[in-house]
């Protein structure tokens, strides 16, 4: 049954991908892209990757669709149909596809327990996680401890994106985009005149925040963690911005504060590592923090996940506010 479901969603993913690329109305294309991400997320879930599914659903289907919409309202919603040189790209792409297709013939099959992937490093994680770290979610254990250095890099990637968007979009436009003052007013007010949307939307915000908290702090026991929780928190704020107007969300969450929070999140993560160093252990060796290694690992993971969540939340809010308030800049 599950296998059949997998085939079905995979086929849907392929169809939707084609629809995304083909549709020349960009609003339609980005809605297709949101559906694409959601299907992808359900697919990940079928493939036993709940953490990834949660993150993909929150980030790919939620946040990035909002960002695309915001960007489209500032650029153009139609793509110009242009007949350019298409032969060379098609040939290149076809060759790449063909090469990969041939390579699949010697690849291990899906779910093959004897595949090399399941032999060497992975069993060690499954075997040793209860012994060294003792939290049920192995993904979180690897993410925050065994490969915590990667995750630190990741936090800094998202931080870089945040300050990048901020620095790119803080240039004053030379001439104001061609919108009338009435449209401008509408853009700022958001959906304030839609009573139904406002009431129902506002009901969802606290629930979203609550769910974000669950995902953040329960991530050691069930799917979740800093990344998905951050995306959920940011989604709640984005919902508020969409309902009440982006100027209000920007006033509630000023960019200056957000950038400080994002930097704080990074500093918490790197700071935990530096603290381990100062205590005479390796970088990010949480065992330095306490005498009992399991408790030390527990608190180390708690702290770095908090740093991750803080940075992701702050950066995504920052990016949303920067794009959504651009029309009034």
């Amino acid at each position: 049954m599950m296998t059949f479901f997998g085939f079905f969603t995979l086929t849907m993913v392929a169809v939707v991908a084609v629809a995304t690329v083909v549709s020349s109305n960009l609003f339609v294309a980005s809605m297709w892209f949101g559906i694409f991400s959601l299907l992808m997320a359900s697919n990940f879930f079928i493939l036993d990757a709940a953490d990834v599914a949660l993150t993909e659903a929150a980030v790919g289907a939620g946040v990035s669709t909002v960002l695309f919409m915001g960007a489209l309202s500032l650029t153009a919603d139609k793509e110009s149909i242009r007949q350019g040189r298409r032969l060379l790209p098609i040939v290149v792409v076809a060759v790449v596809g063909l090469v990969l297709l041939i390579a699949t013939l010697e690849q291990p099959r899906l779910g093959d327990p004897l595949a090399p992937v399941h032999q060497h490093v992975a069993p060690w994680y499954i075997e040793k996680t209860p012994e060294y770290i003792n939290i049920p979610n192995i993904v979180t254990a690897i993410l925050a401890s065994f490969r915590g250095y990667d995750t630190m890099g990741e936090v800094l990637v998202i931080f870089t994106a945040g300050i990048g968007v901020l620095s790119v979009l803080s240039f004053k436009p030379k001439k104001r985009a061609s919108i009338s003052s009435e449209e401008l007013g509408q853009a700022i007010r958001g959906l304030q005149h839609h009573a139904v949307l406002r009431v129902v939307g506002k009901l969802l915000i606290p629930v979203l925040l609550l769910f974000g908290l669950l995902v953040q702090f329960h991530g050691k026991y069930s799917p979740g963690g800093g990344f998905s929780a951050g995306a959920l928190f940011a989604a709640a704020i984005m919902l508020y911005g969409i309902l009440e107007g982006a100027d209000r969300s920007a006033k509630a969450m000023p960019q200056k504060v957000m950038i400080n929070l994002a930097a704080l999140g990074c500093t918490i993560y790197t700071g935990v590592g530096v603290a381990c160093m100062l205590l005479g252990h390796h970088f990010l060796d949480y065992n330095a923090l306490w005498t009992d290694p399991q408790i030390a690992q527990y608190y180390g993971i708690l702290m770095v996940e908090f740093g991750v969540g803080l940075t992701v939340t702050a950066v995504l809010i920052m990016i949303f506010n920067a794009i959504a308030n651009r029309a009034t800049y």
Binding site: V99, A115, P116, H120, D150, V157, S167, M277, G280, F283
Partner: protein, 499 residues
């Protein structure tokens, strides 16, 4: 108990990464962000020097992050080449930052500078992170840190072309990184590990299978995009031309070479022993690309009318030499590649520093606008000319040492070697032409624009950097022992003794 000395391998990345977010929160006006960034970079540079001496004394260093054993946790690996790359990156960053002390205010509004310097530190630590890690996926993560920070810095360029250049850079860079990730994915699929050394060992069981060959192809392709190898080079001259001048000093010296470093690591440590008969094919492909690259790069450079663009295409050509050396697959080739990586970094940094000074005074980098610059900015132009000599490969300069070892390595491969040597010499002649084109206009044509007397010569910080780099060109041209010994011990590391 670990001492500070034991922590240096990780500190070289962590120090700038720890301080970069703080720089972003500093008040933008005033010199504070610049000062913090410069001090951080100087410390990083000092750590890199210490790492180089450590590697020369005791051999390669390893460091376990989180103290987890190696294929399970992430390990750092610092060999001679990595230590040298860390030195190049932090040195180039320091040079760029000193130049930016006087060149940045002109091009980037003051209120953006704290974000820009934060990105600068992130780019630097990302690049260093790539060269010192021993984990294939970790390379991807740090590649993304450095790339994103670089896109931001290019987008902050003074003209609107900076935006399109940055977008093109972003698309190519992301495609390159994703191709790299596909390659790593296939290697992981066949080995079940991400640690490079472990991968090399475990690949022996599955060598010559199709996924491994595909992995090799995708890795090389992705890294070639990142390294601006010839058909994928289009983003690079644009990015160098439209980025702020001081940023170009930093990028030109090191950013693409990091991708070449990774390519060299994969090529010799992982692919060469495990590709069997297909290695020849891969090498032939890379060699063809590199030869077309250096001929075409030099040719386009001759016809460029913008000095920054000219130097950008010259970089395409010079990277072609490095890749040619890699494609030879011999230990002499490795040495030549490493030596040229180092020497090209110091000459290109010097050239771009001189250009930054000219842009600061003339407000343009079009070659025809720079007429008569030799009389108005004699010290700057002399520095440019001397670094240009090194680029051509005149004896007594670092460039000569590179060419010498490159041609030696090439000649080992028999008759093909003679042809390749001829091509290298042709490309060098082209370098003479494009450097001469600049020198002719600078010295022998009347000035188009008379500079006010007080603002003729470049400001002191730029001059100091420029001349330090020019002297380094001569120093390493006369006494290349440091670079040679690093290159030799890396070649021994990768190829084993006696091969």
């Amino acid at each position: 108990m670990m001492t500070l000395y034991d922590q240096l391998p990780v500190l070289v990345v962590v120090l700038p990464l720890f301080l970069a977010p703080l720089v972003a929160t500093l008040p933008s006006r005033g010199k504070l962000p610049w000062l913090v960034a410069t001090i951080t970079t100087a410390l990083t540079f000092a750590i890199s020097i210490s790492l180089v001496t450590q590697v020369l004394e005791t051999g390669s260093l390893t460091y376990l992050l989180g103290n987890w054993p190696i294929p399970f946790g992430i390990g750092l690996y610092i060999g001679p080449f990595s230590a040298m790359m860390a030195l190049i990156i932090s040195g180039a960053s320091l040079a760029g930052l000193i130049v930016s002390a006087s060149a940045m205010d002109n091009e980037v509004p003051a209120e953006h500078q704290s974000l820009l310097y934060s990105c600068w530190l992130l780019a630097m630590s990302g690049l260093i992170g790539i060269v010192i890690t021993g984990d294939a996926f970790n390379v991807f993560v740090f590649m993304e840190i450095s790339s994103l920070a670089s896109y931001v810095m290019v987008a902050n360029g003074p003209t609107r072309q900076g935006l399109t250049a940055s977008f093109k850079y972003l698309v190519t860079g992301t495609m390159g990184a994703t191709f790299y990730l596909i390659g790593v994915g296939y290697l992981y699929m066949m080995t079940g590990t991400l640690n490079m050394a472990d991968m090399a060992v475990r690949l022996e069981d599955v060598s010559d299978t199709l996924p491994v060959i595909v992995a090799g192809g995708f890795l090389i392709l992705g890294l070639a995009m990142k390294a601006a190898l010839f058909p994928m080079h289009a983003w690079m001259p644009n990015a160098y031309q439209f980025a702020p001048s001081a940023v170009a000093v930093f990028f030109a010296a090191c950013s693409t070479k990091v991708a070449l470093y990774v390519m060299l690591r994969f090529q010799f440590q992982i692919l060469t022993p495990n590709l069997g008969n297909h290695l020849e094919l891969l090498n032939a492909l890379i060699m063809t690309l590199s030869v077309i690259g250096f001929i075409a790069g030099s040719l386009i450079a001759i016809f460029s009318d913008n000095l920054k663009r000219l130097l950008g295409y010259s970089s395409v050509a010079q990277l072609g030499y490095i890749v040619l050396a890699i494609s030879l697959g011999t230990s002499a080739g490795i040495s030549a590649a490493i030596i040229h990586t180092f020497n090209h970094a110091i000459m290109k940094a010097a050239l771009f520093a001189a250009v930054a000074a000219m842009v600061l005074r003339f407000g343009s980098s079009k070659i025809e606008d720079l007429a008569g610059v030799g009389k108005q900015m004699p010290l700057t132009m002399l520095g440019f000319a001397l670094a240009g000599l090194s680029l051509i490969g005149v004896p007594l300069t670092a460039g000569f040492i590179s060419k010498w070892y490159l041609i030696q390595a090439v000649l080992e491969s028999g008759t093909l070697g003679i042809l390749l040597t001829l091509l290298i010499l042709t490309s060098s002649l082209m370098a003479v032409i494009y450097i001469w084109k600049v020198i002719e206009i600078a010295y022998f044509q009347p000035a188009r624009q008379e500079l006010p007397p007080g603002r003729r010569e470049a400001p002191a910080p730029v001059l100091i950097v420029l001349w330090a780099l020019v002297l380094a060109n001569f120093w390493f041209g006369i006494d290349p022992e440091l670079v040679l010994s690093l290159a030799r011990s890396e070649a021994v590391n990768l190829m084993g003794v006696g091969k």
